[in-house]
C-alpha cells in the first residue's frame, strides 16, 4: 500500500502516572478501512481511540490525519467523529436535535440540515422516532441514534467505541452486518474498539491486537487467525493446540520439529532462516486436525485417547490426551443429525494435519 495513510500514528505513548496505557505505538490506517483495535480491558485500545478523537493528549509521539499533524488540535476541530460506548446522547434533546447537533455547529442552513437528518434517520432505519427523547428509546434504537449522530457530518473517519457492547447477542449479530454495509456504502474509514474477537473478525478489514499498551499483531482477521505471531495472539482468537518442540532440520519450505509432546516429528511451513535446535511452538487449530486410520510414520501424526466430548450442535469438540500427557482438541462437523456417534469416550484415535495448516511461534 503506497498511498498516503489517512491515519498515521507515530511512536505514541500515553502514561497515567507511572502506568503506561499506550506504549510506543506506531501504525497506519488507510482510506476506507474497517480497522479494529482489539484487546482485553486495560490493553490501551480505548486510550488510543480517545487520543485519535482528541480527548487525551499523547505523552509522546505524533498523530497525523491526511498527512497533517493533529496531535495538538482540540477535538472540536478534528475531521473525526466518534460513537461513544455509552452513546452519550443528549438527554434534553429529541432524536432529531441530537443528530442535527453537529450540523448546527458547523452552521449548516436549516433546510440542508433537515435533509441530512432525514437521510441519517433513513440510513439507520429509525425515521419514525425523530421526535422522541433518548429515554423513550430502547437500547438498540439509542445505538442507532448514536450512529446516525456520529455519521451526520459525513466525517472522513468514524471512531466507534465498543459500538455493539450494550446490545444483546441476537441484535449484536444483526447490527454487525449493518455496520459493515453502512461503512461500505458511505466509504468512511471506521476505527472500532472492541474486546470481542468474533466481532472484530466479522467486521474488520484489518485488526490490531493489543496487549498491555503495545500492539501484538496487525493483520487481516484471516492472517491473525491462521498465522498468529505469538502465543497471546494464537490463544486470543478461538482455541488452538500448542505443541512444543526443537527445530530438527530445515529445507526449502518447511522445518521439521521434534516434539516430545506430540510424540514424534512435526513438519511445518516456515521459510525464514532458523537455527537448528531452537525451541519453537507449533500451533495448529482444532478444525485443521483430521482423523485417519492408525499406523503411519508420516510427520504431523499424533495418537491419543478421547477424554471429553462437547456437542455444540454444528460441531463437536473432542479433547484428546496424548501419550505425553498433553491434551489437544479437534473438532468435527456434525454432518448428520442422528447418525451413530462415530467417536466415543475412551476411544483411541490418530490425527493428522497438513504442513501448511500449522504455524510456528518462536516466542
Amino acid at each position: 500500500m503506497d498511498e498516503e495513510p489517512i491515519v498515521r500514528i507515530e511512536g505514541v505513548t500515553k502514561t497515567f502516572g507511572s502506568m503506561y496505557a499506550v506504549d510506543d505505538i506506531s501504525l497506519q490506517i488507510y482510506r476506507g478501512e474497517f480497522f479494529s483495535l482489539l484487546g482485553s480491558s486495560g490493553c490501551g485500545k480505548t486510550t488510543l481511540l480517545r487520543m485519535l478523537a482528541g480527548f487525551e493528549t499523547p505523552t509522546q509521539g505524533r498523530i497525523y490525519i491526511d498527512g497533517k499533524d493533529i496531535t495538538d488540535v482540540p477535538p472540536y476541530r478534528r475531521p473525526i467523529n466518534m460513537m461513544f460506548q455509552s452513546y452519550a446522547l443528549f438527554p434534553h434533546m429529541s432524536v432529531i436535535d441530537n443528530i442535527a447537533f453537529g450540523l448546527k455547529q458547523e452552521g449548516m442552513p436549516a433546510d440542508a440540515c433537515k435533509e441530512r437528518v432525514d437521510e441519517m434517520l433513513d440510513l439507520v432505519q429509525i425515521s419514525a422516532l425523530g421526535k422522541r427523547k433518548p429515554h423513550q428509546l430502547s437500547g438498540g434504537q439509542r445505538q442507532r441514534v448514536a450512529l446516525a449522530r456520529s455519521l451526520a457530518k459525513h466525517p472522513r473517519i468514524l471512531l466507534l467505541d465498543e459500538p455493539l457492547g450494550a446490545l444483546d447477542k441476537k441484535l449484536r449479530e444483526r447490527t454487525q452486518f449493518e455496520l459493515v454495509n453502512i461503512q461500505e456504502r458511505l466509504g468512511i474509514t471506521f476505527i472500532v474498539v472492541t474486546h470481542d474477537q468474533e466481532e472484530a473478525m466479522t467486521m474488520s478489514s484489518r485488526v490490531a491486537l493489543m496487549r498491555e499498551g503495545r500492539i501484538e499483531q496487525i493483520d487481516t482477521p484471516r492472517m491473525i487467525y491462521e498465522f498468529p505471531r505469538s502465543r497471546y495472539a494464537a490463544s486470543f482468537f478461538g482455541s488452538i493446540n500448542l505443541l512444543h518442540g526443537v527445530v530438527d532440520s530445515q529445507d526449502e519450505e518447511c522445518i521439521n520439529v521434534l516434539s516430545d509432546e506430540a510424540g514424534g516429528m512435526l513438519r511445518v511451513n516456515y521459510s525464514h532462516p532458523i537455527a537448528i535446535g531452537t525451541d519453537v511452538t507449533v500451533a495448529v487449530r482444532p478444525e485443521k486436525l483430521r482423523l485417519i486410520t492408525a499406523g503411519t510414520d508420516e510427520p504431523n501424526t499424533v495418537e491419543g485417547v478421547i477424554e471429553e466430548i462437547a456437542y455444540l450442535g454444528d460441531v463437536s469438540i473432542y479433547h484428546v490426551d496424548l501419550a505425553s500427557g498433553k491434551r489437544i482438541q479437534f473438532t468435527q462437523s456434525n454432518t448428520q443429525a442422528l447418525a451413530e456417534q462415530p467417536l466415543d469416550w475412551g476411544q483411541t484415535v490418530t490425527l493428522t494435519w497438513q504442513s501448511q495448516a500449522a504455524g510456528v511461534l518462536t516466542e
Binding site: Y76, F84, S150
Partner: protein, 300 residues
Amino acid sequence: MSRLQRSINWGRLGIAALPWFWLGLFFVLPFLYVLKISLAEPQLAQPPYMDLVREFEDGIMTLVVNFGNYQLLLEDSLYINALMGSLKVAAVSTFFAVLIGYPMAYAIARAPSHWRLPLLMLIILPFWTSFLIRVYAWIGILKNNGLLNQFLMWTGLIDAPIDILYTQTAVYIGIVYSYLPFIVLPLYATLVRLDQSLLEAAADLGCPPLKQFLLITLPLSLPGLIAGSMLVFIPVMGEFVIPDLLGGPNTLMLGKLMWTEFFANKDWPLASALAAVLLVVLIIPFVLLRHMEQRSEEAE
C-alpha cells in the same frame, strides 16, 4: 393472608397520611389561624384583636369580617413598596447568589473526587456557627472603620472610608453570603451527576467549550438551578434579621414591616394580612413552576 394484607395497607396509608397530617397540623391550621386574625379588628387588649364571632347587646351571635386590613395593604403605598422592595431584594440576591454559586458548584463538581468532600465542607462549615454571629461579623467587616475599609485604604484604592454598612449593598452582601450554600448544594448535586461523555460528544461534534456549557451543561443543570434559586428567593422574601441588622432606614422589606406591625404597633390583624399576602405571592411562582414541569413531562 387477607388480614396481613389489610394491616400492610393500613401501614401504607399511615405513612402516606403522615406528611399530610404534619402539613395540616403545622401549616394549614396555623395559617387558618393567621387568616382569621387578618380578618379581625384590632383592639387595645389581650389578645390585641377582636373575635370574629361576637355577641351584641341584642343577644344575637354575629360574624364580623373585617377586610379593612387587606384594603389598607392595597391603598397604602407603604405596603406595596415593601412588597416590591422584598421582591427586588430577593430577585437581585438570587441573581448574585447564582452568579457566585454556579461557578463554585461547578468547580467543586469538576474537582478531583478526593477534593470534593473537603471543598463541600468548606461551604457548609460556617453554618455550624450561629447565623446571628455570622451576620454580626459582617458588621465588623463592613463598618466605616471595619476590615474592608481598612484594607481598601491600606491598598490606596480609596482615601476615605466608604459607607457600606446600613445600605442596601450591605443587605445584599449579607443575604448572598448567608444563602449561598442553598444554591451551591443543589447545583453541585446536579452538576456532579452530569455525564462527562456528553461534553466530549458535544466537543466531538464541533462544539467549542463555552458553547458546550451553554448547550449541554446549563440546560441539564436547570433542575438544580431552579431548586437552588427557590431556596434562596423564598426565604429572602420574608427575611427580617439581615435587613434589620445590616440595612439602613431606607431598606423597606415585608419581613421588617411585619415585625414592626406585630411588635411595635401591636396591630396583629394587619401583620397577619401581610403574612397571608406574602404566602400567596410566594405560592404563585411555585404553582407556575409545577405547571411548567407537568407540561414538559407531558410533552415528553
